[in-house]
């Protein structure tokens, strides 16, 4: 499925141009059903606030994305937590919104 097509092969097969008729009509495609395996679930949170973070966030995504975020303002973290709660219905209790934002802020200190 992931055959590599060298650039030279593309160059030999096609003239330059934005939009090219490929054989002037119907195209012979080899369709083959696909089944893949993904390395889920991926990492969970560890360390400061991990229990609350895992309970609130891990239903929908792994922790690596959050851990790779930069230092952000406390208010920015709160906006992100509220987006997850209000748009995506993350299992976040209203009473935990500020706590979660504070945990995330503390886990991402300013670069030294």
């Amino acid at each position: 499925m992931t055959q590599r097509l060298p650039r030279l092969a593309i160059g030999a097969a096609l003239a330059a141009g934005a939009l090219l008729a490929a054989g002037g009509g119907a195209f012979a495609v080899t369709w083959k059903s696909e089944t893949v395996t993904l390395p889920y679930p991926g990492p969970h949170f560890t360390g400061h606030g991990a229990a609350l973070l895992n309970a609130s966030c891990s239903t929908c995504h792994s922790a690596d994305f959050v851990n790779g975020q930069p230092h952000l303002a406390l208010g920015t973290w709160k906006v992100e937590v509220l987006k997850m709660k209000n748009v995506f219905h993350a299992p976040v209790h209203a009473k935990d919104v500020d706590t979660l934002a504070r945990i995330l802020f503390d886990r991402h200190p300013a670069p030294k």
Binding site: T35, N67, H71
Partner: protein, 408 residues
């Protein structure tokens, strides 16, 4: 102005000192440091993700995989198994039955219809075109002040040769009714608990953009089936526009009279309705509109930070560039921090929406530090800026790239 990430591999960068990336040895073969704070990322073992070689691991679930910069140094057309991957929600199928797959065209049309994959490829004219797919947030990690979101380096893009059916041919067969203004694109995703219906992914194009001759439903990428993670079996191709519109696993095309109400059209993926989509952090009263055409960009591939060049002798510089929403018009290189520019020679023209190689002979006048800048201009007159405009989504990044070397 960021350093060329091509040199990021061997360079010491500042770490945020925050939470460590926690990825087991089963996932990661090694690591790469992207050129921004908290930029340490695992490199996947080849094959960890289906149909993918070694990738920069931004997130396991839902997958966010970045193309390592070395791939761009070797290929103008990015191999399918190294093309970046971006999913918002892990609600896409891991199995596709090509016999049961259908594409439906409906809405404000005279004759709604449904196609099997064989009918799509067999009953409509096939077209090929080269086009670069670039994430709206490509290079977000380089934006200052930093913003939340996928912290990409420059590797959330890939140039490919696409084969498929022009969308206009499908809409012609359906017969778009007078008064229609937009076309909505739905995919196979079905939401997982607890995510509610208003967060279901779909995108909407203005009718004129949907019927542009370049917009098409693609079933091949670089002469092969699409990798599942890149949208197998079919995805929308919107050359010149950011990849958020290039809907993967496309299942339904609905002609409408509305720009859409879904989260993924607004507020997600919107930009300030200002010149270059720029604003200042905290600015109020800014009108936001859906992101649309791409800006020009250019990159070095033959040289990286820390390289030594022979003084008084010519070195052939090489790289690639693209025009974005219109064709690439010019690429220029500066050796004096942007005071003067010298036009590069452009390589083979693969069409207005594709990446194009550039080259230029450069002779350092004397031994010592050399900083080179590269800048692209497109046919509409857009020129890369020295500093990227800022917006809260971290979109549209296209600052001039530079590389720091030494003439010896």
């Amino acid at each position: 102005m960021p350093a060329n990430p091509g040199a990021a591999l061997g360079r010491r960068a500042i770490l945020g000192g925050g939470a460590a990336l926690l990825v087991s040895p089963a996932l990661a073969a090694s690591e790469v440091r992207l050129p921004f704070a908290n930029g340490l990322r695992p490199l996947t073992k080849p094959g960890l993700f289906p149909g993918k070689q070694q990738m920069i691991l931004q997130r396991v679930r839902a997958p966010l995989l970045e193309t390592p910069w070395d791939v761009f140094r070797k290929h103008l057309f990015i191999p399918n198994d190294q093309a970046y991957v971006r999913w918002h929600i892990p609600d896409f199928p891991t199995a596709i039955d090509v016999g049961k797959y259908r594409l439906r065209i409906d809405g404000d049309v005279a004759h709604p219809f449904e196609l099997t994959l064989d009918e799509l490829a067999g009953k409509f004219p096939a077209h090929k075109q080269a086009a670069i797919n670039q994430c709206s947030g490509n290079s977000r990690g380089l934006i200052e002040p930093r913003v939340a979101g996928a912290q990409w380096g420059n590797g959330a893009m890939y140039n490919a040769m696409w084969t498929g059916v022009p969308l206009a041919a499908l809409l012609d067969r359906a017969g778009v009714k007078p008064g229609a203004t937009h076309v909505a694109f739905h995919n196979i995703e079905e939401l997982i608990e607890p995510i509610p219906p208003h967060a279901l992914f779909y995108k909407v194009l203005p009718l004129a953009r949907a019927t542009d001759p370049s917009t098409m439903v693609a079933y091949e990428m670089n002469g092969a089936n699409l990798p599942l993670l890149n949208g197998f079996p079919i995805r929308l191709i919107v050359p010149g526009w950011y990849a958020t519109y290039w809907v993967k696993m496309l299942t339904r095309i609905t002609v409408t009279t509305h720009p859409g109400t879904g989260f993924w059209m607004n507020p997600a993926y919107t930009i300030p309705d200002t010149p270059n989509g720029a604003m200042t952090p905290g600015q109020t009263g800014v009108k936001f509109v859906p992101i649309n055409a791409m800006d020009p960009r250019s990159f070095f591939t033959s040289v990286t930070n820390g390289a030594h060049l022979p003084a008084h002798k010519p070195t052939l510089l090489r790289g690639f560039a693209f025009g974005g929403g219109s064709a690439l018009a010019a690429v220029a290189v500066s050796a004096d921090n942007g005071t003067s520019w010298k036009d590069a020679a452009l390589g083979k023209d693969w069409g207005p929406y594709a990446s194009r190689e550039w080259s230029l002979s450069f002779t350092p006048a004397k031994p010592g530090p050399v900083r080179l800048l590269v800048r692209a201009t497109n046919a509409a007159g857009a020129v890369q800026p020295m500093v990227a405009g800022w917006n809260p989504g971290g979109f549209l990044y296209n600052a001039i790239e530079h590389v720091d070397m030494r003439a010896v």
